[in-house]
Subunit: 356 residues, 2 copies
């Protein structure tokens, strides 16, 4: 009888952060694809400035609001915000129609952050100095919104394939008075682990990955970028502090901010080089809750970023999380180890040189 | 101060089946869209028979296997199966590298079911008689695979936008020896409800929806089709037995199989009519576990089907579950009530008449 080989045989891996499983079916990559194909992408075709795009400097947005002639990062309030701090709140009866129909009011703020005035400069093409400005702007936002709100979600949707509704490089910051689903689950499972082991789960995890090495994509003195053991998306990665217990982005030292910018630039360059395209993804930062949550209440948290990129086989064929995935269990078609191997193998010098 | 109005103001709704929340931000529909646009779809352009498509009768599949000249439904084993019943199983050491890196072997079977020999006949265009044959074939598969496996997941990915890799109308049946994530969560929360209330959650829920009426899309003597209170996808629906406690598809009476075929035909016709396109979706059936699970152990279960359709604004603009949704919490851009209202309003006679 053949021995089990994770590289060949279907299996499930456990995700301790979310307390759920992911199916791994490595040979599924070989099946024929007559499905949807993404549009090709060409860096050279992106105009540096589009006077009709409200995220470009010196334009008017669909809402009628002006975008000024900014020269670095630029943050403004989302014109169609999900959260606002003046939303009417439901009454007791509105909140509970019956045992099975319940709702809850929300409060918060939604902002948009343009990374740079140029539409053709995505993060991997930006200089380290300018990426560092993005990191600093994230921290500034976190400090300000974190004063008032319990959860500050920084996220970036990059690329059409990832539902990005505007091609100008930007991210969003949605702050809310409540812990959203994913945050609540991570909070619970990190706390359980901390109570059992006395150390933060993701600090222990980083140390294990540093020892195993096979899932590491990028590393430097302060950071590890790994394809997590329990990764769901084909080239999913996680950025983790390498050895220090860090609750939130704002706790980073000056050196750590620089080394983070550098790890990001290397990772995102490798992403673009993998299929020679502007690699789409959805990125999010997770750290300890804010809004007056004391540090002593959240020692179980460890700061981390997650990238969910959808491309699977090439620049035009993505993985769809549908069918079995939606109704039963997430499934990946290549192992985390082989994804990490491929990402390690590609160059960290970008295949495209932007015009000056 | 303005009073809270769920039709206007952002809020969160609770999903008791999965124990999680969904954000509802009705005014988000108004924001400008410069993102991805789906290809237009034209029924008349679909060939009835494509000799190069291995799901059509009398063809050879990529694997070299033959598809016979079938005349009704046709079921075969997936050529690239995630589950097989002869997969090598991991050893104790392989299963637990350490506390944070665990895996598990899997066993099961994956099958594909073509609905009909014609590639241009999707379910809503099929006759009631032929839809009934699909229902009967589902039941046959469930009975056979349910003998050996704990969970039999019947699901259909329809449309390119939903990651369907082959345009010939078909569904899949993946049976596994374990309860997948979603099944395990539904099992837990239905059980908790049953222990507290003494009645199955989804039977109570159907009765509440029948009373409220505003989320009903289609109804007949045996079935309710509703946009669930906690729906995530824009036009998500759930098919529920109207008044009878039914554990599994195979427990349906002859009349209920007919009325189910009819409810499905009406729902899917409305879906196609809404944006005048072949409406993409991912559908799944959920009922009590099988594989020797005694009926007395799963009285908390109630049979139901779920449709997750991605289209939001038109035949070409879909909702992307990305960014905030992936990293924090699902969000919908119109209320369940307004989705149900729109679906009720469209005709239940299909806009397209297939050639004979
Ligand atoms: O099986 P198919 O149609 O080739 O592929 C589709 O369904 C599978 C099962 O839901 C998914 O894993 C794939 O991502 C999806 O593209
Ligand atoms: O905010 P955008 O870029 O218009 O829209 C995108 O991100 C949002 C927040 O993650 C999602 O709700 C939308 O579905 C997605 O298309």
């Amino acid at each position: 009888q053949t021995a089990f080989d994770a590289e060949d045989h279907s299996h499930r891996r456990y995700n301790p952060l979310l307390d759920e499983w992911v199916l791994v079916a490595p040979h599924r990559m070989k099946r024929p694809w007559k499905g949807q194909v993404e549009d090709p992408f060409d860096f050279a075709s992106i105009p540096r400035h589009d006077p009709k795009n409200g995220l470009c400097p010196n334009t008017t947005r669909a809402s009628g609001k002006k975008t000024p002639d900014y020269t670095s990062t630029y943050v403004f309030v989302n014109d169609f915000p999900t959260f606002r701090d003046d939303l009417p709140q439901p009454s007791e009866e509105q909140r509970k129609l019956n045992d099975l129909m319940r709702l809850e009011g929300v409060t918060g703020e939604c902002r948009v952050m343009c990374f740079h005035p140029f539409s053709d400069l995505t993060l991997p093409l930006m200089s380290l100095e300018n990426i560092r400005k993005v990191v600093d702007a994230w921290i500034e936002q976190l400090l300000e919104l974190g004063e008032r709100f319990k959860w500050v979600q920084i996220f970036e949707n990059k690329g059409q394939a990832m539902g990005c509704s505007n091609p100008h490089p930007h991210c969003q910051i949605w702050a809310s008075g409540h812990l959203p689903n994913v945050a609540a689950r991570k909070n619970k499972h990190q706390l359980e682990y901390y109570e059992k082991h006395g150390t933060p789960m993701l600090l222990d995890y980083a140390q294990l990955e540093a020892k195993h090495k096979e899932r590491i994509v990028v590393e430097n003195d302060d950071w590890l970028v790994v394809v997590p053991w329990w990764a769901v998306w084909p080239y999913e990665t996680m950025i983790l502090p390498r050895r220090r217990h860090i609750l939130r982005l704002c706790d980073l030292t000056d050196t750590e901010r620089d080394s983070l910018s550098s790890a990001m630039k290397t990772l995102l360059t490798k992403y673009d080089n993998l299929f020679q395209t502007s690699f789409p993804y959805s990125m999010g930062w997770h750290g300890a809750p804010t809004g007056g949550t004391g540090d002593d209440e959240c020692q179980h948290w460890q700061l981390h970023a997650i990238y969910y990129p959808p491309l699977l086989r090439s620049a035009s064929v993505k993985k769809f999380m549908v069918g079995y995935e939606m109704h039963a269990e997430s499934q990946r078609d290549l192992t985390a180890e082989s994804a990490a191997r491929r990402l390690r193998a590609v160059s960290d010098k970008h295949y495209y040189t932007p015009k000056l």
